[in-house]
Amino acid sequence: MMTLTRRGFALGTAGAAAAMALARPAIAQSEPIRIGWLGSLTGPLAAPGVGFDRGMKWALAEVNGAGGVKGRHVEIIVRDTQGDPTKAVNATQELISRQKVHAMWGPGNSGEALATTPIMARQKMPDLHPCVVNSLIDPEKYPNAFRLAPSNTQWDDAVRHYTLDIVRAKDVAVIGDSTGYGTSAVKDSVANFKKDGANVVYQATIDPNTSDVTPDMLRMRDSGAKALVIWSVTTGLNSRLMNARAAIKWDVPIIGHPALGTGEVGKLVDKPANWENVYMVGYRSCSYGADGKLPARSQEFVDKIKGKIELADTSLWWVLCAVDAVNVITRAVAETGSTAPEALIGAWNKLDPYPGLFGNYRFSPTQHNGYPTDEVVMSAANSQRDLVGLGCEEQTKGWGRGRAPTCLLRPC
């Protein structure tokens, strides 16, 4: 009885598989190109996800408006992971097995990406992601995974060079929030500072919900730090550090993570002056040059989306990066005429360079870190208030006043 059913089932599935195999070539030519998008769209870690999402939707509308790719429609299947690794794992498998996507974008949070990357690798799913954690890119272990954003090392290099060579501080305090990202970034940063001969006089992680960071600030001052390096995505913590610095009247430069420059921080500082003397990692494509202008490609995009995409509450680079992601995927399909994993991965391995909006990406079979180091720049954090407001008529008028990037980083 049992064996009968089992055999019946086996026969049935074999038949179905055969039928699918036969039908496949015909379908493959016309079926939509499905892109899975693992975004943290709600919850405490949603800010980047929301920005990426806007870019994806924009790029999708553009590519489908132009008739799709070789007559094939593009679809994006989005799953909100809420920054929760368990939800991300479920969603990854669902997108692969049930939705049968051809490529993935995301996830962006370290906890999620660390969990989903090996899972996607096992199933050879072509994946582009913007997560900065170094270990996520390893062409040997994860030949399917490509990074469309800087790695943590690139951020860290930029911040370190700026601290040591421009600010010329040798005694530094390195702090982060007590999240997974914060603790690991602090660890890497401290090691690199020491390697470069700097004196790390203070090192700590702080609970992002700490209501008053004056004690931490006092400890850092006592330690004799000449610059504070901060790795935190938490706007509350970042702004509290700036306020505490002002409260103890300590004029020390703060240097670090791009989140130091988000508009949310601007809202939370007690007074605008507290946001002075703060420098963040930025990107050439999203910064005003010495001439007070955005790079032409970015300017063109900003003009095009004016009134269509809200930029006031997000960061331009998230939007640009996601637009590039869709384009990198669709271009690979256009080039190879296929959505097979090997085809996409093969095409990506030969991107050299791809001129995207966010940067000129370069991939090779042995190098899946695509973002060019020379496009990572440092800028004054409060200059971002003009950039984040690019969508608004009133604020765009003022962008000429925006601070120029204080330093363009030398290529490493």
Partner: protein, 580 residues
């Protein structure tokens, strides 16, 4: 036989689990695996929360411990995965006791808060202890060798683990341990009076629940492929906890269904993901307010069968001979100069009292004269300020109620203490908890000694019920019985100890004259078998009918003492109390 019957409700779930691979879709393998892993944890936690009533809301801490133990041992120390999993179980068990220990000292809400604190701290430690845990960057989950290295192979492994946990907790749930846990939850004082040691029992259960959580953690790490502290969210803790309450406290099939529901439901409600925790919370609220019995209550068809409405309690004192045989003269309980105050009130103010084997000793007096307090002092619930308390030549430890059962001192309560959801038979079986010989470990895997224990207990309880005349209601839920029936049930439960002394706190309150008469006969028969009875009562007729000796209390002092005839003739008593 009963063991197998207990597994019947699980057959549909088992069938579903066996059918799942036929979808052939790896996605369902992941969801099924996740449900199985969560159940491994919830099965253990269910004994803590659902049975023991200990509100451990931060149990994700133990998942974290297990996940990191297994992952780190495999990744850094290159242990074989199965040994690492065993280590995760071991460390989980120890951590379970550490997290659970405050439950022995703290009140419910305090304990809930303490477990919450643990959940936060464990994550923080995982972040800070970088050299071992990898800090924020985390560590790879352990990989299983073939045949468990595929999605469906791993599913099979987890499903077997889940089935094993189900079987073990069903064994415990149906044992004296399970009943004792529920007794601690719903009738703590009765549990203590029957000699159940709350600390020993809870520590055992925390060990077990910690071990299953540790194993679940190891499997969880494999499923996730990589773990970081942010995988262990408070939401996960809430999910485990709510799964149990949705399922219904004191049930096993209910929480199992609850776990499956909460794991699978979000997969069908993708647009609502932002609201998922809100909806879990709302669900919890609805369950607590509208159907505290949970799913299990909906499935409890037996408990809804109507009871015979025209029923009478007819005790059979003759059956007492089967378990009360105090033929040799035994020691007496002696109180000398006992005094006890609550704040400014002197509840007992220097009392001497002797309860002799084979005698019924009546204790009467107006409200607040110290009758129940005296009973509480003897049974260890109140510690006297001064005075001595002896059983024969040995002092009775003051203020330790759980020691009395072993000394053969049983009691009943003014308000019957019972487990409403359990059957009458199970309630009575609780009385014999300390008679069991099988250890918790033997019970888990249903070894012969456990099965013999259960048989013996069941037979004894049935006999006790026949003795008090309630055997026709043995399978009825206790909360559906009448007040008078519960009073006889309490006596049956006390008889399970084969007591040398029986302390009865107003057993006749709320009984009809007929029932009082039968109660009197039963008590007299118990005493005739050599048991010393202390009878706290208001019904003067009952006292004078069956007592060998009567003490009258007033304001915590002895007003009069003697034979019923002496008391009846006592001028002061008659005028002050008997209203004669």
């Amino acid at each position: 036989m009963t063991g197998l019957r207990a597994l019947v409700p699980f057959l549909p779930v088992a069938a579903l689990a066996i059918a799942l691979p036929f979808t052939g879709n790896d996605y369902w393998a992941v969801i099924g695996t996740r449900a199985a892993i969560y159940w491994v944890l919830v099965a253990g936690l269910n004994l803590v929360v659902g049975f023991g009533g200990q509100l451990a809301i931060g149990w994700v801490a133990l998942l974290t411990v297990g996940a990191y133990t297994a992952s780190v041992l495999v990744a850094s120390a290159a242990w074989p995965i199965y040994m690492a999993l065993a280590a995760a179980a071991g460390l989980g068990a120890v951590s379970g006791v550490v997290v659970g220990l405050p439950a022995l000292r703290l009140r419910t809400f305090y304990f809930a808060m303490a477990t919450l604190g643990f959940a936060t701290i464990v994550t923080q430690v995982a972040l800070a202890w970088e050299s071992v845990t990898g800090g924020g960057i985390g560590v790879s989950g352990p990989a299983f060798p073939a045949p468990f290295d595929t999605a469906w192979g791993f599913y099979a492994l987890c499903a077997v683990a889940a089935a094993l946990c189900t079987w073990m907790t069903v064994n415990v749930g149906d044992s004296r341990f399970g009943r004792a846990l529920v007794a601690i939850r719903d009738a703590e004082v009765a549990a203590e009076a029957t000699g159940i040691s709350k600390p020993a029992l809870l520590v055992t259960v925390f060990l077990f629940a910690g071990a299953t959580a540790g194993v679940a953690g190891g499997l969880f790490a494999t499923l996730q492929s990589y773990i970081t502290p942010d995988a262990f969210t408070f939401d996960l803790s809430v999910l485990f906890f709510i799964a149990i309450l949705i399922g219904g406290r004191g049930s096993i099939i209910g929480p199992l269904l609850g776990t499956i529901l909460l794991t699978v439901l979000p997969e069908f409600a993708a647009p609502l993901v932002a609201w998922s925790t809100f909806l879990y919370a709302a669900l919890l609220g609805v369950i607590v307010l509208v159907m505290p019995g949970g799913i299990a209550n909906l499935l409890d068809f037996r408990g809804r069968k109507p009871l015979e409405s025209n029923r009478a309690i007819v005790p059979r004192p003759a059956l007492l001979g089967e378990f009360l045989n105090h033929t040799t003269a035994e020691a007496s309980i002696r109180l000398a100069g006992v005094a006890l105050g609550f704040g400014a009130v002197r509840a007992i103010d220097g009392l001497d009292l002797v309860i002799r084997p084979g005698e019924v000793h009546g204790l009467i007096g107006p409200n607040g004269s110290g009758k129940t307090t005296t009973l509480n002092v003897i049974s260890g619930f109140n510690r006297p300020d001064t005075g001595s308390l002896r059983l024969g030549a040995h002092p009775l430890p003051a203020g330790m109620p759980q020691t009395r059962a072993r000394l053969g001192i049983a009691r009943t309560f003014q308000t019957p203490r019972l487990i409403g959801e359990a059957s009458l038979l199970e309630n009575v079986m609780i009385g014999g908890t300390i008679e069991g010989r099988a250890t918790f470990g033997e019970t888990l895997v249903s070894l012969p000694r456990h099965r013999r224990d259960e048989r013996v207990l069941r037979d004894a309880a049935m006999l006790a019920l026949r003795t008090v005349g309630l055997e026709s209601l043995a399978e009825a839920r206790a909360d559906r019985l009448q007040h008078s029936e519960l009073r006889f049930m309490e006596i049956a439960r006390a008889l399970m100890l084969r007591p040398a002394f029986l302390l009865l706190d107003e057993p006749a309150a709320g009984l009809s004259p007929d029932e009082i008469r039968r109660l009197g006969e039963l008590i007299a028969a118990i005493a005739a078998r050599g048991t010393g009875v202390l009878l706290v009562e208001h019904h003067a007729d009952l006292i004078f009918d069956i007592c060998d000796h009567v003490t009258v209390l007033n304001l915590g002092r002895e007003l009069a003492a003697g034979t019923p005839a002496d008391i009846r003739a006592h001028q002061e008593v008659v005028s002050a109390y008997l209203g004669g």
